[in-house]
Amino acid sequence: MAGRRAAIKAVDWVAFAERVPPNQKAMFNNLKTRSDAISAKLASLPEKPAPIDWSYYRKTVAKAGMVDEFEKKFAALTVPEPVDTQTAKINTQEQESNKSALDYIQASKARIVQYEQELGKFNNMIPFDQMTIEDLNHTFPETKLDKAKYPYWPHKPIADL
């Protein structure tokens, strides 16, 4: 009777807690308390109910056949297992989250490439005391003075000095 449903997978709560980002800690704590409550409830129930002492009842109860009838019916009785409606939903949720996670990882990798590009630009730059103004304008295009818009020195609005 033990293998009639999926075995309970051991969850490493410590590792799980590490991976939770700080803004979702409250949700994680709620989940943990609920899970602990459920597992405590499960642990408090023994797996099989105490067996009924049929011989005692057979001796005590006077009515003929009643105990035998009960025993027969009891043995023949099968308790229906509760139907699992949620696991399918959870599985679809997991598929979706896998997809969105892959997308996120792609975007994150693109961002990392971009950051590394900029970092490379900074690291390969010539040092500032070797630069001329031309080199500065080449490395940081925002320092280039717009001589067409402001033809007279200082080539930028006075307020920006």
């Binding site: 449903r5 999926a6 309970i8 997978k9 969850v11 590792a15 799980f16 590490e18 991976r19 980002p21 989940l31 899970s35 459920i38 597992s39 409830k41 129930l45 797996e47 099989k48 109910p49 105490a50 009924i52 009842y57 005590t60 109860v61 006077a62 009515k63 009643m66 009960f70 009891f74 009785l77 308790v79 229906p80 297992e81 509760p82 699992d84 949620q86 696991t87 959870i90 949720q93 997991e94 989250s97 996670a101 996120y104 990882i105 994150s108 990392i112 950051y115 590394e116 900029e118 970092l119 900074f122 690291n123 730059m125 500032f128 005391d129 630069m131 001329t132 103004i133 031309e134 500065l136």
Partner: protein, 252 residues
Amino acid sequence: MLSRLVLTSGSALKNSGSFGACVVQASRSIHSSPQSKAPLPPLPEKGGKIRHGIFPEELFSLLYPKTGVTGPYMLGTGLLLYMLSKEIYVINHETFAALSISSVIIYGIKKFGPGVAAYADKLNEEKVAKAQEVKDVAVARLAQAIEDEKKEQWRVEGRHMLFDTKRNNVTMLLETNYRERLHMVTSEVKRRLDYQVELQNLHRRMEQEHMVNWVEQNVVKSITPQQEKESIAKCISDLKVLAKATQARAAV
């Protein structure tokens, strides 16, 4: 040439970006065309070496092999004497004006040159330091951003744990429900059997009590007056015997 004069006395000048020797500047602008990608030589810190504020060192090193150390000085003295004696250069009032003005200028530069140069350098240093700070901040920010992205990716990898937890919860709830049902069935059957047993016990007890009562009643009814008189006489005789025995004991 005047810039070189400024340069020697202001020997504290380090950064000579725009003062740099025009030769080097030209080579830089040549290099910025897309013909050669070789890295540029670093900008020179100081201008060409000069002696006595005007004469470049190259002249001295040019003449050194043939005429030794005193060669250029002899050349200069000779040229000066030649120009004076042949009156190619005529001494007039402008000579004295030139001498006075140039002595004042030289005195001024020698005295204030280093100060001005230090001030200009300080301004430049501040600009460079600011740019360096901007660069450092940007580099640190980028490195931190890369670290954060990697951390987020690592976090995302743990998403299966959430779903495992959910499935576990569902399984546990189902299991709990099933066990509760089993327990309920057993306890119900047991209750029914216990009820029957209790019922039987009750019947038996009631029968017992009823029988005892009935027997008592019958016995009481069956005590005839004849038996009563006999039992009372017996009681009296018993009491007399007891009294005699007690008196005897008290006398002793």
